[in-house]
């Protein structure tokens, strides 16, 4: 009997500590939705109706769940991109631009090669996306390490440059016939399979989950991961112990950009099957919120991405059925960021009175 009681206590304790770890995030999300409800009330909508439409849209049926995961996949990539750079102490807000150039490079490979077998064409197209995204991360990295230009400004500027560069490409040299600014469809051999018909959910999500695992491994188990974290924590020992700080920063931003670029590849190969101007509704920004809510942890990112994917897919249903502008979701996101940004909130919650006292 004592054994069982002990076990139950242990379980409760562990459950309590786990709960405590996600408590600040959970409270941030709930508070954000509460504040969002005030915005809705003030603008003449019923929060209850709006939120229930959102939840029903996101999880109500198989189609909704498929759409939620479809929206979550690019966010996982952009969130991992933000996360990895942040582990190195770098604030990469350029995921949006990196995603765009990655998507375009992928589309280019997708439309340019004919008659390749799928097991060569698809990886080639993915690689192109990673390389282009990596290049778009390499530029701010060099500007940071060689010229001390702050990455927040340069990555933001590169977002605009990527937008106009890809915009030029699909309006002039690679424009498909017709009035839409898009490329011709990619070859079938480059496509990523759709895994939950009739939704657009593609194998891209499998790659993104795999990517989260790889990053977790790199950060926890490899020398490079250790170096990245040491530089990020600004450990005074970092330089003394022979870590090349600049090289680590450059590699982190390149890897960060490559991950975001892969997110773009996934959209092109799995969802749209071509590059369409303006296909990203702001996945780069979504990624930032997802990474913060995920506690800057690859596994946490997966959970947070499902939540934000649900907000986006449910948001579309919400807009269709209740007429609430979709931009509400950015207000919600920013509110979540504000509440997560407050470390004192987390510390406050860690005080004794919230601990599960089991002696």
């Amino acid at each position: 009997m004592i054994d069982v009681e002990q076990k139950v206590k242990q379980f409760l304790y562990r459950f309590g500590t786990e709960l405590q770890r996600v408590l600040p995030q959970t409270i941030a999300i709930l508070t954000a939705f509460l504040a969002g409800a005030i915005v809705l009330l003030a603008t003449g909508y019923s929060p209850l109706k709006v939120y229930s439409a959102m939840i029903k849209g996101a999880f109500g049926d198989m189609f909704g769940i498929g759409q939620t995961l479809t929206q979550a996949s690019p966010m996982i990539f952009t969130a991992l991109a933000f996360l990895f750079a942040s582990k190195c102490g770098l604030f990469n807000i350029g995921a949006e631009g990196q995603l765009l150039v990655g998507a375009f490079a992928t589309a280019l490979v997708g439309i340019s090669f004919h008659g390749l077998p799928a097991f060569i064409h698809t990886p080639m197209a993915l690689l192109a996306g990673a390389l282009a995204g990596g290049l778009w991360g390499f530029i701010p990295a060099i500007l940071k390490t060689r010229f001390r230009a702050h990455e927040v400004i340069t990555t933001m500027m590169l977002n605009y440059i990527a937008l106009y560069l890809t915009g030029y490409m699909v309006n002039y040299p690679f424009k498909a016939p017709g009035w839409v600014s898009q490329t011709v469809p990619i070859e079938q051999s480059a496509e990523l399979p759709r895994i939950l018909q009739p939704t657009q959910l593609s194998a891209s999500i499998v790659i993104s989950v795999f990517m989260a695992g790889i990053l977790q491994y790199i950060l926890r188990k490899t020398t490079f991961g250790y170096q990245v974290r040491a530089v990020g924590l600004k450990l005074s020992v970092a330089e003394g112990s022979g870590i090349n700080i600049k090289r680590t920063m450059v590699l982190s931003l390149v890897l960060s950009g490559a991950i975001a670029g892969l997110g773009g590849s996934g959209e092109v190969l799995g969802v749209h099957r071509r590059f369409i101007e303006g296909f990203s509704p702001g996945y780069g920004w979504d990624g930032l919120a997802v990474a913060l809510v995920g506690g800057l942890n690859p596994i946490g990112v997966l959970l947070a991405a499902v939540l934000f994917g649900a907000i986006r897919s449910g948001g579309m249903v919400m807009t269709r059925t209740t007429g609430v502008p979709l931009d509400l979701i950015y207000v919600l996101q920013s509110l979540v960021i504000f509440f997560v940004a407050v470390p004192m909130l987390a510390r406050f919650l860690k005080r004794d009175r919230f601990k599960w006292r089991i002696s």
Binding site: F147, I161, Y164, N171, D327, V331, S334, F338, A341, M344
Partner: protein, 300 residues
């Protein structure tokens, strides 16, 4: 070639002043915040929000001055939020600023649809009229352009010729010493970040009320970040940042005229100000030292 030379005229320089105005206001705002030890990457969002709030104010009152007042208050409130999160709660300054930018993006687009039924643009409202002054280039602008000159000079005087300016700089450079000297470090920080938001608010109000007389989606277009670059280029000195803003204004004015010529695809020309911003940082960021280490300060 003849076409290219044709666009360089008095009109181009007048346009340069107009395009420099929002950047100059925001970069002056950036200086106040950073001199007090708080990075403000939320300038972009503060500008965008104020541009919208300014239009709403003028829409409901029919008076652009009341719109301007609303815009400045909105900027100040976002500044207060930034100060709360970073000074009181010691949150990460860049996370908070980025949050403000995302908030502005969502809030303005959301409210624009609620009030005007369109995500892209608001209704046209009463904006500021140009007040002609018989001086070429500098004359014939809206009051906000004239105000920019005044604020630039005033910022310099406040920061470098007054006791409060000395306190602000002390708080940024060495908060512990400032505290020992009896300066209320937190109060100065709050004040400066709010002033920062209010100045960005003036810049935003210029975008919507002094320029187009309406709000358009994402109309700040990265100018808040250009303002940060102008601030660095100007070595955190008001008059230096003002000069740098003129350079960005020139690039913007040139960009619009080149576009009208139709020699190059618009995307290339639209990218010019962003490329210039990076170029400026490459040239100058290495040579300057920020006025603060931007670490959160705790009173013991």
């Amino acid at each position: 070639m003849a076409n290219l030379l044709d666009i360089i005229n008095v009109g181009l320089f007048a346009a340069m002043l107009r395009m420099a105005t929002p950047i100059a206001f925001s970069s002056l705002g950036g200086i106040f915040s950073e001199r007090a030890g708080i990075i403000n990457v939320g300038l972009e969002g503060m500008m965008l929000t104020s541009a919208f709030v300014g239009v709403v104010g003028s829409y409901y009152t029919g008076n652009p001055w009341l719109g301007l007042l609303a815009a400045v208050i909105a900027g100040g409130l976002l500044g207060l939020l930034h100060a709360l999160l970073t000074v009181k709660f010691k949150g990460d300054q860049i996370v908070s600023g980025t949050g403000i930018n995302i908030f502005a993006m969502g809030f303005t687009a959301y409210m624009c649809q609620i009030i005007y039924g369109s995500r892209g643009a608001s209704a046209t409202v009463t904006g500021f009229e140009a007040i002609p002054i018989p001086i070429p280039i500098i004359g014939d602008h809206t009051p906000l352009v004239y105000l920019m000159f005044a604020v630039a000079v005033l910022s310099h005087i406040v920061l470098f010729k007054t006791p409060i300016g000395l306190r602000i700089r002390a708080v940024g450079e060495h908060p512990a010493a400032a505290d020992t000297a009896g300066i209320d470090v937190y109060r100065i920080k709050y004040l400066c970040v709010m002033v920062s938001g209010m100045l960005a608010g003036l810049g935003g109000a210029f975008l919507s009320l002094g320029h187009l007389n309406l709000f358009a989606w994402g109309m700040s277009g990265g100018r808040g970040f250009m303002a940060l670059a102008a601030m660095i280029f100007g070595r955190w000195m008001p008059l230096g940042a003002f000069g740098a803003s003129l350079l960005f204004g020139f690039a913007d004015a040139l960009q619009m005229r080149l576009q009208a010529l139709g020699l190059l695809p618009p995307q290339f020309i639209l990218a010019i100000p962003y490329i210039l911003t990076i170029a400026v940082l490459i040239g100058f960021a290495r040579k300057v030292t920020p006025p603060s280490d931007y670490k959160p300060y705790s009173k013991e």
